[in-house]
Amino acid sequence: MSQTDVYTLAGAALFVISLYGLITRPHLIHKILALNIMSGGVFLVFVGIARRVMTPDPDPLPHAMVLTGIVVTVSSTAYALALAKRIYSETGAAVLDAPDVFERPEAGGD
């Protein structure tokens, strides 16, 4: 098994582990952490793939894509965290199923 394989497999494992965490952990912070680890797993796959070329440096294209991905991830994480904090302020808990959320009569959005 090559070094590339080791890292891409690790990326796949991180992806699966955090997918399980994302589904089963109710707290929003946990869900956001899970999504961040998950993207980390995908980035490992990208950079593992870049390692196939070493002349003398790896393929720069996956590196550029991962750098873009990191910035995109931190952007959406920042927004998700701001949303989670606001939800906490409004409901007293940072979970998705606050009781009777969608049944309240005034729930019409506008």
């Binding site: 090559s2 070094q3 690790a10 965490g21 952490l33 910035v71 991830t73 906490y88």
Partner: protein, 105 residues
């Protein structure tokens, strides 16, 4: 690739996977976030191993640094509001945080 390099890779990956499991299983949010920052720094090491210094720099600065700071801020915000004690409690024990923060019955 040398034998010791290979061993180093496996050790690094093993630690990353273990940390990922710990982060997601951790009940105390504050601890989970600290572990996540450690995870980000180890990821930076992995990028160095994979000859990706650009990504290592970005991961350390953005992945671990900025994301970590934002997460700490969010966890602190959630404790600050739910805790029955004043908000300027030192950040040591976070168990009360998660109990209050997650505790929807």
């Amino acid at each position: 690739m040398t034998y010791s390099g290979y061993l180093y890779d496996l050790l690094l990956i093993g630690t990353l996977l273990w940390l990922a499991v710990r982060i997601l299983a951790e009940v105390k949010l504050f601890k989970a976030v600290v572990l996540f920052i450690a995870f980000g720094l180890l990821m930076a090491l992995a990028w160095v191993r994979l000859a990706a210094p650009d990504i290592a720099l970005a991961e350390a600065a953005i992945g671990a640094g900025i994301t970590g700071a934002l997460l700490l801020d969010a966890v602190g915000h959630m404790r600050g509001r739910a805790a029955p004690y004043p908000t300027d409690e030192p950040a040591g024990d976070a168990s009360a945080v998660t109990e209050m923060g997650d505790g929807r019955g």
